[in-house]
C-alpha cells in the first residue's frame, strides 16, 4: 500500500514536471509561421522575381483576402522592402473592367508577406477571364508582371452586384465568418460602388441590414442579429449574425444609406420570403 502511494505520488510529480516543461518551451521558442493556414494558389515568374500568391481557401468569385511574397530569383531571398500595388482586370468580349480591391500592404516589418483584398464580382467562363497585374518597386527600381488567374464561380452566394434605386451600381460582398458556427458570429461584409469601369471605392456610412433565414425550416430566422456598419470610413462593415442550427442559411440583405433610405433589398415577411439580394451558405 505504501509503495503504491509512493508510486502514485511519483507519477503525479512527473506529470506536473512535464506539464510545466511544455509551457516553458512555448514561451522560449515562439514558432511563428507566416504561412500557417495559407496555401499557395499561384506563382508568377518574370526574369527577376517570382511572386507567390497565397490565400486561405483558394481564390473564387467574391471577396478574397490575398497574401503575396516576392522572391529574388538570383538570391532566393524574399524581398522585405518592396512597395506593391495591383490591378485585377476582367477581360470580356466587348469590354474590360476591374473590381473592388485594396491597397497592398506589408503585414509585419520583418516578415516577407504583403496583403490586400480583391472582390471578384463575377466568375470566369470559357471566353471571359481575370488577370492580375502586379507593380512593385524595390529600392527605387520599378518592376511589373501580369498573369491570368483562375476565378471559379463560388458554390455559395458571396457577392451581389446591383444597381440601387439611386441609380448607383453597388457591389456587396460577404467576408466573414469563413467557418460559421451555431452561435452569434462576428460578421464582416464590404460595400463598394462602381465609379467607373476601373474605380470601385468603398461606400462609407451605409448599413447592411441582414435577416438570416432557413428556407427549409419554414423561413425560420434567428434573434439578436446586428446589422453590419462601418466603424472607420474606408473599412469593411462589421456586425453580428446569429445562427441557431447547422444547415443551409440564406442571409437576406437590404442596403440602407446613412439616412435610412433602402437602395436595394426587401424586408422579409409572410409574403416576401426572400430579398432580391442575399448571401447564402451551409455548414
Amino acid at each position: 500500500m505504501k509503495t503504491q502511494l509512493k508510486n502514485i505520488f511519483a507519477i503525479l510529480i512527473m506529470a506536473l514536471a512535464f506539464t510545466s516543461c511544455s509551457k516553458d518551451e512555448e514561451v522560449i521558442t515562439p514558432a511563428v509561421d507566416e504561412l500557417e493556414g495559407l496555401s499557395k494558389f499561384k506563382e508568377i515568374t518574370n526574369t527577376t522575381h517570382t511572386i507567390e500568391l497565397y490565400s486561405h481557401m483558394g481564390v473564387e468569385q467574391g471577396f478574397n483576402e490575398i497574401k503575396l511574397r516576392i522572391k529574388d530569383n538570383n538570391t532566393g531571398q524574399y524581398v522585405k522592402n518592396a512597395q506593391v500595388s495591383w490591378m485585377p482586370l476582367m477581360h470580356m468580349a466587348m469590354m474590360t473592367h476591374s473590381c473592388p480591391n485594396s491597397e497592398v500592404e506589408k503585414i509585419a516589418a520583418d516578415g516577407t508577406l504583403y496583403e490586400g483584398y480583391i472582390v471578384f464580382q463575377m466568375a470566369q467562363n470559357t471566353t471571359e477571364y481575370w488577370d492580375l497585374k502586379i507593380d512593385y518597386t524595390i529600392n527605387g527600381t520599378a518592376y511589373t508582371t501580369t498573369s491570368v488567374i483562375d476565378v471559379p464561380a463560388s458554390s455559395e452566394r458571396r457577392v451581389e452586384t446591383f444597381t440601387g434605386s439611386d441609380g448607383m451600381k453597388y457591389i456587396v460582398a460577404y467576408v466573414e465568418p469563413h467557418h460559421p458556427k451555431v452561435a452569434v458570429n462576428d460578421m464582416t461584409v464590404g460595400v463598394w460602388k462602381m465609379q467607373d469601369m476601373m474605380t470601385f471605392p468603398v461606400v462609407d456610412g451605409y448599413t447592411v441590414k441582414i435577416d438570416p433565414r432557413m428556407p427549409s425550416m419554414g423561413n425560420h430566422s434567428s434573434p439578436n442579429n446586428v446589422n453590419p456598419t462601418q466603424s472607420v470610413a474606408g473599412d469593411l462593415y462589421n456586425g453580428k449574425m446569429s445562427l441557431t442550427m447547422t444547415g443551409y442559411w440564406k442571409i437576406n440583405l437590404q442596403l440602407a444609406t446613412a439616412d435610412g433610405t433602402i437602395v436595394k433589398g426587401e424586408a422579409i415577411s409572410d409574403t416576401v420570403t426572400s430579398s432580391s439580394i442575399y448571401f447564402d451558405f451551409e455548414f
Binding site: M217, P223, N224, S242, T244, M245
Partner: protein
Amino acid sequence: MKKILFTVFLVPLFSNVFAQETSKDTLKPLQMEEVIIIGKKAQITDKQSKTLTSIDDYLQKSAKVDMIKRGAYAWEPIINSMPTERTLITIDGMRIFGACTDKMDPITSYVEVSNLSEATICSGQEGACFGSTIGGSIDLKRNQNSFGNKKWDFNLNSGFESNNQQKIIGTAINYANKLFYVDTDFMLRDAENYKAGNNQEVLFSQFRKMNFSATSGFKLSKNKLIEGSLIYDKSTNVGYPALPMDVSIAEAIINSLKYEYAPLNSIVTNWETKFYFNTIMHRMDDTRRPFVPIHMDMPGWSKTYGYYSKINAKHESHNLLLNLNSFYNKSLAEMTMYPANPNENLMFMLTWPDISTFYNGLFLEDNYALNCHSSLKFSASVGSHSNKVESQFGLNSLQIFYPEMKAKKDRFLKSFSGNYNYSENGLEYGFGAAFGERAPSVTEAYGFYLFNSFENYENIGNPNLKNEKSLEGNAFVGLKKEKINIKMASSYFHISNYIVGKPDASLVPMTIGATGVKIYTALDYATIFNVSLTSEFKFSKQFKWNSQLVYSRGKDFDNVNLPFISPLNYSTSLAFAKDKFSSEVVLQGNAKQTNFSAVYGEDKTPDYAIINANFGYKFNFNKSKLITKFGIENIFDTYYSTYSDWNNFPRMGRNFFVNLSIIL
C-alpha cells in the same frame, strides 16, 4: 400521524408465500431486533380490482395525483395540479430524470407494477425528503423480500385487454434463506392501437414494453444488510397519438447498492445509505407518420449518479429523520432535421445542451409527540444546486439569446414546514404551513427551441430565472370509525416567480406550423387550491362504498386560469367481497371544465362519466393459488376526453380485461 398521506398499494402478487410474515409490516423502531425490511402487502393482493394494470392507473386513484396523457403509455403524473418540474418522483429514494424533452418519459414509465410494492405520495413540502419540490412527491417503493427459512417462490402472471389487444406476460422468481435473498421479475406488455368510444381507432397508440428487475440482499450480521438492485426497462415502438412524434426506443438501466444498519438500543433506530446510478436513452421518431413537414430525429440521454444516507432516530417523544443526499445528472438532447432537398446539409441543434446538475442537500424532520393524541412535526431542508452547460456548442447557442450568460449557475434552495396533528376517538384533524423553493428545470433554464404541441409554441429556456418559491397552507379533518371513514383535505399554494413561457413576437419559430416562440419567464405569482373529500362506508362485512370528490382551482396573479387544473372530479365505487370472490362497480367522471386556460392552449372540455365493473375469484390448489380478475371498463363505450388529455385526444372505449396470476 405518519408522514405518509396517501399510500397506494401496488401489485403485491409475488408475495403471498410470505403472508405469514406480515407482522413485520409496521415499522416499530423501538422493537427492532434485526434489519427490518418493509414488508410486502400480501394481504391485499386479491382485493386489487385489476392487478396487472399500469402504475399510472394505480397512481391516479389518489386524490392528489392526476395524469397528463399523451397516449396509451407513459402518462405524466401531476401532484396537486402541478406537473413534473414542480414535483419530485423517486424510485426508492433515487433521483431519476427523464431523457425526453417532450416529457414522453416520466420516470414512472421506467418501472413496472411488478417491481413495486407501494407508492408514497406526499403533498407539498412534506415530500421534500429527497430534494426540492413545490407540489409534492411520489416515492415508488420496490418489492423487498425478507430473510427467512429457505424458500423458492414462482409466480406467473398473464393478462389480456380486448380493446387494444394488450398482452401481458410476466414471471417472478424469488428465493430466500436466513442470510440471503434474491428477487427477480420480468414483465412484457404488447399493445396495438386502442379504440375510443364508438369504435374509433386512435392511430399511433400502440406500445411494447419489457421490464426486468432483480434485487438481492445479504444479511451481514443480525442488524446489517447490504442490498443490490437492478432494473432494466426497454420500450419500443411507442405511439403518442397526441404528439407529432412517437418513440422508437426508450431504455433505462437503474442500479443501486444499499447498506442498512439498525443499531440496537440506540437512539438511532435505522441508518440506510444508498449509492445509485441510472442511465436513460430515449429516441423520438417520426418515420411512421404519414405526413411530416420535415423529418427529424430527436434522441435524448440522461445519466444520474447519486447517494443518500438517511437516519431515523427516536429520543423520548422525538421521532427524527435526517437525510443527506446528493446527485449529479447530465441531460443531453439533440435534434437533427432532414431537409426536403437531400443535397442540403442536415440541420442540427442541441435542444438540451449537455446540462449538468449537481445537487447536495440536507433534510431534517422532527415528529414530536405532544401527548398520546397530538403531535407536532417540523421539517427543514437546505440544498445547493448547481447547473453547468457542458457543451461549448450549446453554450454558444444559448448565448444567441443571452450574450452575457455564463456556463455555470449556482443556486441555494431551502424549505421549512410545520404541521400539527390531532387524533382522538376516531376524530382526526391537522393543519400546517410550509415554504419551499425549486430551481428551474433543464428545459425551463436551458431548453432550445423545444416545441410544445399543446400550445403550438416553441420554448426557449432562460438561465436567469429566479427560484420558484412556494408558500403553502394545508389542513384536513377526518372521522375514522369502524364502519365509516371520511376525510376532507385541502391545500393552498401561493407560488411566486411562477415559471411559464411567454410569447416573444420578435422571434420566428423553427417548427413548421408553430404559432411562435415563447421564452421562459416568471409571473409575479400564481395560486393553486385543491380540496378533496374521500369516504368509505362499510355496510356489512361484504359491502363497501367508496367515494372521492376533488375540486381544484389555479390562477395567476392576473386571474388568468392555469393549465391542467382539474374541473370537479368524482368517483364512487361499490364493492362486494365474500370469501374468495370479489366484485366492484365504479362510476367516475368530471364536470364540465369551465375554468380552462385558453392562453396556455386549453379549450373547454365537456363533462363525462364512465362506468367500470370487475370481479375476481381466487382458486386454491394445495399450496398453489390462481388469482383471476375480469372486468369491463367504459361499459357504455363512451367517447370522451378529459382536461388532461393532450390536444383533446380521446380516451379508451369499451375494454374487457382478464388478469391471471398463478402462485406456485
